[in-house]
């Protein structure tokens, strides 16, 4: 490794290194590169269309139901009083059929049912990210007692069985906040609000630890990176090191996590509603429709099929999109 060796080699390499780079376009951040890769991914674009479709359904639900001319009233005349079922699966008045016995329109419930899925998915995952990232950053960067306490809470929460806890917490919360009368009856609107909030809280409570653990690990490796040391050697305040040097480097894992959480939460919401601990009338949800329709699956399949296919398609599209996002943000597969 003698330095004097070969000045001519030095000149050549020098010229080579100073030569203008092959790419004339400049100033592309890692995020911009990731988005560019995502734009070229056909599967991701297809998924985006599917996701966009359901988002539109949720947003435009009132418009859609008025176009279809359906409402949320009982239509006893639509069902056969003996079997309780409608004589049709789908017709012009009720494109997705009607419920047994009551004759409530299923298109109406499907269109409005898209809302809680998306709202729960997005709200719960946003909250999960905020809590998880904050705790992960604190534990990872501050270390010491904070790290010990946060890690202990994380381990504790992750050791609890989610499904049992969810099934247990809902009735307890209803008792506690629902002001039931002597017979245990809770006002319908109040119950569905409580259920909605509790559902989101349960999802956040049991998922933030996973996010916190992941972010903590990232922070532990990031804070030893030399650019963080460089910032510290300038005397940069800790808060600024975290906000300016660490946080921007967590956008990758954060976005990837978000795209994984949203479909998981939508599926969980449907599952919990199916089990009766999720949402209930008058909040329509696909999980609840599926659980009601499952009884009539043989004679009246459209009741169950439409929400089942919808939720599967949405979750699938979101998951594939999440995969594409994590590929796009993964430096190992970049370029």
């Amino acid at each position: 490794m003698s330095l004097g060796a070969g000045t001519e080699a030095t000149m050549v390499a020098d010229a080579d290194e100073r030569a203008p780079g092959p790419a004339p376009r400049e100033g592309k951040s890692p995020t911009q590169i990731a988005l560019e890769r995502l734009r070229k991914d056909k599967v991701a674009i297809a998924c985006l269309f599917v996701i966009g479709f359901f988002v539109l359904v949720a947003i435009l639900a009132p418009v859609l139901v008025s176009i279809a001319g359906v409402d949320d009233q009982l239509h006893l005349d639509q069902v056969n009083p003996l079997t309780g079922l409608a004589s049709f699966q789908s017709n012009a008045d009720h494109p997705f059929g009607v419920k047994a016995r009551t004759g409530e329109d299923l298109f109406y419930q499907w269109a409005y049912g898209a809302r809680p899925s998306l709202v729960v998915g997005i709200a719960a995952s946003a909250l999960t990210m905020v809590v998880g990232v904050t705790m992960g950053l604190l534990a990872g960067f501050l270390g010491g007692v904070v790290d010990t306490v946060v890690s202990w809470i994380v381990d504790f929460l992750l050791s609890l069985p989610f499904l049992l806890m969810a099934i247990g917490i809902v009735p307890i919360a209803l008792q506690r906040f629902g002001n039931p009368d002597s017979s245990g009856f809770i006002e319908e609107g109040r119950e569905s609000t409580i259920r909605f909030i509790v559902l989101i809280c349960v999802l956040v409570l049991f998922t933030w630890p996973t996010v916190a653990r992941l972010i903590r690990g990232e922070v532990l490796s990031l804070r030893e990176r030399e650019f963080v040391q460089a910032a510290r050697s300038l005397g940069m305040p800790t808060k600024r090191v975290v906000m300016r040097e660490l946080l921007p480097n967590l956008t990758g894992p954060m976005i990837v996590n978000l795209t994984i959480l949203i479909p998981a939460f939508i599926a969980t919401e449907a599952g919990l509603s199916f089990l009766g601990v999720g949402l209930k009338d008058p909040t329509y949800s696909w999980g609840q429709t599926i659980s009601q329709g499952v009884t009539f699956f043989d004679s009246y399949p459209i009741w169950m099929w439409i929400p089942t296919i919808s939720v599967s398609l949405l979750v699938l599209a979101l998951s594939l999109f999440g995969d594409a996002v994590s590929d796009a943000f993964n430096p190992q597969t970049r370029r």
Binding site: M1, L3, G4, P30, E226, F227, Q229, A231, G235, E245
Partner: protein, 362 residues
């Protein structure tokens, strides 16, 4: 040999220490122990990793000290202690006459401007989410050196100073090669106009041809800006033409320290001799007869349980009983010039190693 040594002395800024020398940085008995838990056996036991175990040296303004030793000898730890990125277990660090060894971050603020780091890995040392403008502009902002509207001009000036195209200010690190990134790291360190730079193996992650360029750049900057350097390297080859003084480290301790000519032409410690002998010999590649070479057997022992007495004794070919019992002190030995200290019970000048290296690099 004689021509080679005149060429050598040309680059020496401070060839000899005398009593009027005022150190900029003075490190005395610096110690850093890391506690580590070990989980063998029934109960976890806490051991101390003796990463740096009583190191003393000083650097005068504009002077360059090379810190050389194999991987794991505590060079990086020493560099980070000196720049106070980590707290020393004990010992004193004086910068510009002020004790900073135990100072709190707030008291360190003025020192942060005077001392900067250049890092080993150019792929880790730049924030991938920031443009060059932000990376080099941040020091200007943190220390309020340049008014906001002039900041970009100053960044471009700095880019030019380190040999990069000033038009590339808005690029991200991923658009540069390793050597270019290292230049950006150098520009960032220079932004605060420091007086001392701790360079932690700044070229060892680069291609050999690029290494020479970056070394030439550092050489140029050091002369133009009268910078003092603590230059960390894992072999004696890189620092040869750069350093006024060289300290050889082994397992957390300095085993030999002296002016460049002392270390390269009259090394006395067996470890220094082994390091010199390990430098690649171009004459052998060209077909010359191979000189006697000292080969080091084995690895550096664990700093958790360093050998008693002389820490080098497990790999030393001259080791005697006394080496295991008594720790050799770092002191001037017979035949050594002033300022040339050796920690060995059986020092002995071996100059043919230096000669062979002289020929290879000519």
């Amino acid at each position: 040999m004689s021509t080679a040594s005149t060429e050598t002395s040309e680059t020496v800024v401070h060839p000899r220490r005398d009593n009027t020398r005022e150190p900029l940085l003075e490190v005395t008995d610096l110690v850093k122990h890391y506690p580590v838990k070990e989980y063998t056996g029934l109960f976890p036991t806490t051991n101390q990793v003796r990463a740096v175990d009583g190191v003393s040296f000083d650097v005068a303004p504009g002077e360059t000290l090379g810190l050389v030793g194999e991987s794991g000898c505590g060079k990086t730890t020493t560099g980070r202690l000196v720049t106070r990125l980590i707290d020393p277990t004990s010992g004193s660090i004086k910068f510009d006459g002020k004790e900073i060894g135990q100072a709190k971050e707030r008291q360190l603020r003025s020192m942060r401007r005077d001392m900067q780091l250049i890092f080993q890995d150019p792929y880790q040392s730049l924030n991938p989410r920031q443009t060059v403008n932000t990376i080099i502009g941040t020091p200007l902002e943190v220390h309020n050196l340049v008014p906001k509207n002039k900041r970009k001009d100053r960044v471009q000036e700095l880019l030019e100073l380190v040999g990069l195209n000033p038009e590339h200010v808005n690029r991200y690190p991923n658009e540069f090669s390793g050597g270019q990134r290292q230049r950006i790291g150098i520009a960032r360190a220079l932004a605060v106009e420091p007086r001392l730079i701790v360079a932690d193996e700044p070229v060892s992650a680069l291609d050999v041809s690029i290494q020479a360029q970056v070394m030439n750049l550092l050489e140029k900057l050091r002369k133009e800006l009268n910078l003092a350097f603590v230059f960390v390297a894992h072999d004696l080859g890189v620092v040869r033409h750069f350093c006024d003084r060289v300290a050889v480290m082994y397992l957390g301790k300095i085993v030999e320290i002296g002016d460049r000519s002392d270390i390269y032409e009259a090394p006395q410690h067996p470890y220094t001799q082994a390091l010199l002998s390990a430098a690649p010999d171009l004459n052998v590649v060209r077909g010359a007869e191979r000189k006697e070479r000292i080969r080091l057997e084995g690895d550096v022992p664990s700093p958790i349980n360093p050998p008693s007495g002389c820490r080098f004794r497990t790999r030393c070919w001259k080791a005697q009983d006394v080496c295991a019992q008594e720790e050799p002190l770092l002191e001037i030995k017979s035949g050594a010039r002033q300022g040339h200290q050796i920690a060995c019970h059986f020092p002995e000048i071996k100059d043919d190693l230096a000669t062979s290296l002289e020929n290879t690099s000519a």
